[in-house]
Symmetry: C2
Subunit: 206 residues, 2 copies
């Protein structure tokens, strides 16, 4: 990767952290450009025109090109590395967990964390409040499924860490901030410890 890599991010976002963690594990350097989501800095005309018409971070800038979607950015960085298995089924299985993360896990666990920890209960709209119960149930189902899956093995795909584990680490390791009880998911807890013990691991606050 000879091109300049710039991560457009908000440091409180687990989706942004995924990319920083992937880069760190691979020994790749990223420049960082920070935005405050709450202050609307990803909804300005300039951001929508130049960075992401979808008004979201993270976006990985590669030279003069822009790549939105956290898991796509992780894939770009890890392509050709040991974080993506060579076996055809295993490679698709990594994506299976990454799509699960964005469909079943992130909209529940990450959104609840954002609402409860970052926006604050008192500032939620009625529509948001009415969804808390469903997101709690959905988040618990996602964590339960992961925990059952990990009860019998160390990593989600194959016998070593893959992008699937990194994608599902980011918000799972702060699920307590969304009101989920880590004690209910012991197999997840052991996997979180395994990720945190990887060489070159960086914490979310780095």
């Amino acid at each position: 990767m000879s091109e300049r890599l710039v991560l457009h991010e908000d440091p409180v976002s687990g989706n942004c952290y995924k990319i920083r963690l992937t880069a760190a594990l691979l020994g790749v350097s990223l420049e960082r450009r920070q935005y405050d989501i709450l202050a609307g800095e990803t909804r300005t005309g300039e951001f929508l025109r130049d960075v992401n018409a979808n008004g979201r971070i993270p976006v990985l800038q590669v030279g003069s090109r822009f790549l939105p979607e956290s898991n796509a950015a992780c894939w770009y960085l890890a392509d050709g590395s040991a974080l993506i298995p060579e076996d055809r089924f295993a490679r698709a299985d990594v994506l299976r967990w990454m799509f699960f993360e964005q469909y079943n896990h992130e909209p529940n666990v990450a959104t609840l964390r954002f609402w409860l920890r970052i926006v604050g209960l008192a500032h939620l709209t009625d529509a948001q409040r009415s969804q808390i119960g469903a997101k709690r149930t959905g988040g618990e189902a996602a964590l339960e499924l992961l925990d059952t899956e990990l009860a019998s093995r160390d990593w989600l795909v194959g016998k070593s860490v893959s992008l699937a584990d990194i994608a599902l680490y980011a918000y799972t390791h702060v699920a307590n901030e969304a009101g989920f009880d880590p004690g209910r998911y012991p197999a997840i807890g052991r996997r979180l410890d395994r990720v945190a013990a990887l060489p070159r691991y960086v914490p979310m606050t780095a």
Copy 2:
């Protein structure tokens, strides 16, 4: 792919159609095993144990292994084909659109279609009814973004069809069934026509 391929599916699901369309374009044969979502056939103990603990279709069975998540199954089938570009950035950009599809498009466009066309307005819960407005707004935003993106080019990534176009074809081409007005998205319409004109294309009802 020498192993037996079985698609566990409900024919009304656009997520299942994506996989059938990908296989058809590649000239790959799939066996089909059908389930009725409304009748709870993907929530039986047998299904949860043997096919997908997440209780969802589609699942692509490859020999004795099971691969949930529609876009992961498409990736498995298309891996090594022209539907996935060789260029590293373009490959990640295909995934970018597939993650956009599952995060911004499917939960709005597909869910509204399921609620309004398949379940029926009269049978929705109060919680579902209360989300219709937000899903309408979210679906329109996703379609508007796609339409703007396609105004200046024929395909989402590069100069030929890729998995990004297939993933975003499935529910977009039936967005009218969810109450979206296709006339508002002329560039999307031209891209839908291009997909339908591809050699070996199969319609959703095939």
